[in-house]
Symmetry: D2
Subunit: 394 residues, 4 copies
């Protein structure tokens, strides 16, 4: 067995946390009974915590041989131990260096995967760079920032496997990004800083789905929100949502809390940091390295808070909800992990050509309907008159 974890003895605590999460994930539970993945080997790369662990178990229950990998800084050792104890292969232990993480990823790839669920496309890109694709029939990727380089590769003709853009599914875009990431990032930032938002000014760089979510929850909690944007439609949207829109350098002197929500490296520069209001907190709600320019010499002042002499960095500039809290809310994760499970089933059930593909609508809709059932929300049905109208267009 491949497993490399920190401490197998931690499994009971991890198992309890995984079981707790499971009861709030009815859609994934229903799907694991439907899927048949017998005989396939599936690699999962994800932030290893109780919710994602349930995806590993669901795929295992559906018959797959599952191997989980997670970089050390995003690994909960008790969850890793619990998965290993449940018979899943796990390559993840906290405290690894980046080089060690890459080695673990190589071991994952060299196991000969049929399908891969990636996070940030780090492992897919590694597999291409080092020619370690092996028997891989395809991969699923759920982050905007992970898909971006894959689309560049697809355009170049260098992408050699099909990739399902789970990120673009409607169940993902509508709920995970706006509600899930927005709410959990705001909550995590408040938790780490001990602040409350009433009366504070929250500056949000980027007004895409994540930025809209952050802005919505920050405003709901009483903050004055200022948005910075480079796209005219997004800027106009923020303005019409009642928010002030300013270039970032002009917004910084008012910021009590600054979020980068662009998913683009180089968003918060040293110049921006120097212009911040004294005592401001800076957090990243996106998902790439170096959204905030690295500044040496920070001094830890409380868990997850580093004092940079005038301003405070939360979660060392990593995505604040992943690094500092348990990631996205359970109910939202139930949707996005269910999409991943269906994506794996879809990839293994057919030969798709290389390229970035959308998840078929019917799978997306399957998740939405299972979720409505679990919630007890009843859909209406179109009347005959409505159907006739829609058929002939008037």
């Amino acid at each position: 067995m491949l497993t490399e974890i920190a401490d197998p003895g931690l499994w009971p605590g991890g198992a309890d946390r995984i079981a707790w999460a499971r009861r709030f994930m009815p859609v994934l539970g229903a799907l694991s009974e439907e899927l048949d993945l017998d005989g396939w080997r599936v690699g999962l790369v994800l932030v290893l915590e109780p919710k994602t662990a349930n995806l590993a178990l669901a795929l295992r229950d559906a018959g797959a041989e599952v191997i989980v990998h997670c970089p050390g800084r995003e690994t909960s050792d008790d969850v890793a131990a619990a998965l290993a104890h449940a018979g899943v292969s796990v390559l993840a232990r906290s405290g690894t260096t980046r080089a060690e993480d890459d080695d673990l990823a190589r071991r994952l790839l060299d196991a000969g995967l049929d399908a891969l669920v990636d996070d940030g496309s780090r492992v897919i890109r590694l597999a291409h760079a080092e020619d370690r694709l092996g028997p891989l029939r395809g991969a699923a990727e759920e982050t905007t920032s992970g898909l971006r380089p894959l689309r560049v590769m697809a355009a170049d003709g260098t992408l050699r496997v099909p990739v399902l853009a789970v990120n673009d599914a409607r169940c993902k875009v509508l709920f995970d990004n706006v509600h899930g990431t927005g709410q959990s990032c705001v909550m995590a930032a408040l938790d780490l800083s001990g602040l409350e938002l009433d009366g504070l000014t929250c500056v949000v760089a980027g007004y895409g789905h994540v930025g809209q979510g952050v802005a919505r929850y920050a405003a709901a909690l009483g903050a004055q929100v200022v948005v910075s944007e480079v796209d005219p439609f997004a800027a106009l949207r923020a303005h019409h949502d009642g928010l002030r829109v300013l270039p970032l350098i002009d917004a910084c002197p008012e910021a009590d809390l600054l979020f980068s929500a662009t998913g683009v490296a180089g968003t918060i520069t040293a110049g921006h940091l120097a212009a911040l209001k004294p005592g401001a907190f800076v957090a990243v709600a996106g998902g790439v390295e170096d959204e905030v320019e690295r500044t040496p010499g920070g001094r830890p002042v409380r868990p997850g808070v580093t004092d940079h002499g005038g301003w405070y960095l939360l979660a060392e500039g990593e995505c604040v909800n992943c690094a500092a809290a348990e990631g996205n809310p359970i109910e939202i994760m139930d949707l996005s992990l269910s999409l991943q499970a269906l994506a794996v089933g879809h990839l293994l059930g057919r030969r798709l050509p290389p390229g970035v593909h959308l998840l078929p609508d019917e799978l997306d809709e399957r998740v939405a309907r299972l979720k409505l059932d679990a919630l007890g929300v009843r859909l209406d049905r179109a009347t005959d008159r409505q159907r006739a109208f829609l058929d002939r267009g008037l």
Copy 2:
């Protein structure tokens, strides 16, 4: 000259109202100076009120010969008179029958149009049905419900001209539908009924862009909002927005105010109406005939309100903000009418194949940027690091 209007003497009042609207429409003003439509004949079909009148004047100022047509029930006679007084041909007078409206539309078509701005695709379909397309190079259509039958025709191969789907432009979708139509319909319904929403239950059939806007403003004004949907994603979205979701028949007994926001005929049936809470008001926020099943025998009780023995119909089931108020807010209309102006320029500047086309992105963005300029909102610019990141995808 073609003009047929109710009373030319009404022009001074109409001219004042048009001038008032113009000062809140800086984008259209800027575009009329840029466009060159010299020598073209353009037909405009639209709800004739001060804001749309400015589109006629802007196209005229850009050099076009403009002919305006509007069905009688949506015509402001003073605005019609003012346009005629300003030298625009006008075929619109209040009090016409539907048959007379069709005759006016035929006269419009028979004038030999180069381009047509339609509303609900009534005139485009008439032109096809009666073979009156003449020299028409193309049309612009800005309603969802107007585009639906045109897309059916395009799929059938029976659409013989290019149509620009102005409705799908981002400046239209993001602002007009959610903000404009939502806010103006809620305001118009409150104005007609004399109600305030605090503590009332507002049921919204349909949670597309218009329904979301209606729900947002109704909730903002203190209503409890219940949504009815047939689409699972939309239902899930409403649920995650904190709204109750019920089949319409189950929601009706709680409704103080019921909006149809589907844009689909047959949405509110006699069965729904019979199930309404006594004293409920019913309004249409969409844009097609027969969204509410026609019920004879209503008794007018105040302007725009008909008593149907237990429930009240607003604006006789027509779109409540068009029929009962001045339509969408000025600032929002500035965006959508500017898109129409650019669409006309685009159609006349090239030969597009028959079919439903999207408005080119750069025209859409042109409108967004002019609007930001007019508002004094400053866009940020991507840093070099951000641009490099976006170019190579990571």
Copy 3:
């Protein structure tokens, strides 16, 4: 009979509007059956529109002889005619001068009133100044600004009758001021100006109940709200509600719409007006003369809008919801007019000493309970354990 009205023939339209309002005023209806005012003469001074007309009818139905008076600029002639046609004495016609209004008020007082419902305390003060109190047992006054001079008189010992401060009842403070006045003033301002608030900046001078209501609805409709305050608690409250707080002179250059909500004369000075953003609209949500410094030379540009060369005054600086719309929403008025009816009954049923008195709690609660009944809202009951806890304090 005392009646002096503009045109008796207008009664049918007024009667329809009064009947329409009545169906949304269940509390007042229930009270008129409970009260017994046989043999008393009651004067009503109020903005004469369909809702207030129902108070006159309710008191008449309870047995009182009712005389209604209203200054000309706040009189709906059709409502006046309908009341007269229903046998109520009416001293109110549009178009009167202030001197004529005072004469009508004198005729009202000289009729020998037992009780008076006043508005702004204009007639109570006139009665004191000219020694025309007659048999008056007391008065009810429902505006903050009307009570202020009466409290000064009470402190001076010059107030000679008891006055019930209906304004301070909980059913009035909680609902009429925040919800009713706030919502109706924002709606009236949007209606007159034709603006929509998304993306505009709304400056509110004063953050008392009315100002909070205006700010709440303006923000709900998408405006960026800036508050100006002279009281530290109110300023802090606005700040914690997520609003920017600035001295008025610094807020004026950002204002698209400026509300005075202080109820204090001299709030908006010529200096403030000169500092306004070009094209700004100015409205009064309070209830006293001269909240906005009078500026001559305005030019009417559309109904209720005067152009002062750079900025626009709404409703000529009168309270915008009274002058420009039908006043407060029906449901809210049902509460405050019901309090007035109970106040009249209370004054006539006993001899209170001169001074400003609160309305007894049980009357206030009676109105709240009748309203809950009418709404179908069910109160819970304290458990035995809760009652025991509350009795002994722990």
Copy 4:
């Protein structure tokens, strides 16, 4: 020295946390420089965490001899150690029984206090019951539930010292209760349960200040809120705020999350608990014992969550934000602890008669103004015209 703490060696961690909190408490810092408490002995009873610790230090810096006491279950041992290390007497260690807590309280009283800051009036009542008042000149009490029995005692004539009702100060009522307690309780409940509120139903028993705050934040985070009330005004207010109002027993079957926000024992009975939706969470946002009826046999499932076979109790039914998080937000606590500091100064500076007294307005306003200064928020000044108007009442 009196000190009894768990482990003096924990001081460095506690000192860091106290220092972190201090930088967000500018008002308390400013007051500690103004106050002169030389020669007085002051007892502090409070939840012992970094923010309240700063009150102890501020009073010490002002010259007082300070003795701190806290029941074991609300004590952070590292904070206790840090205070002791800084020279403050501390009687607080985690893990004490209730009997031991009472003994510690007796030792506090027997030290001979000049002033006492109490929490829930537990120690004041003990001092009366056991005749241990000693030289006490008076006490400050900041909770609604703590003041209730003291007011009963004052009415009975058995209260023997003056008590300042810090709870009723405007800086406390407006900010701590609505914003502070509301936000921190909702955050703590989400943190413990791992839920997100979008689409869930949150039932709030009690719609006073705390309940309004809980409802506001729950709704802001996407919950459907249902309120239960026994008071007609509060019920009507909730209804007008757009919330559903139901008797608690009827609301329980819909609850995903149930808050008790009454501050009254016996609010949630066994009957209510039996009626809950399966899987519901129950939390207390008030401040008394037994708001939720004690149910034996709960099984811990994660920190702060006990499974009662069908529903989950948060924080064992203690006030969820005190027990499970760091209590109220720092900025809000800065206001209420500053009021406490001024209350102590006021009690020691004069001899007040026994009874429950309000904090003088000027002290309340002092705190508000210092807070505005710290925030950089500028008050406006009344114009001469406004002052004249206010002086003469019109």
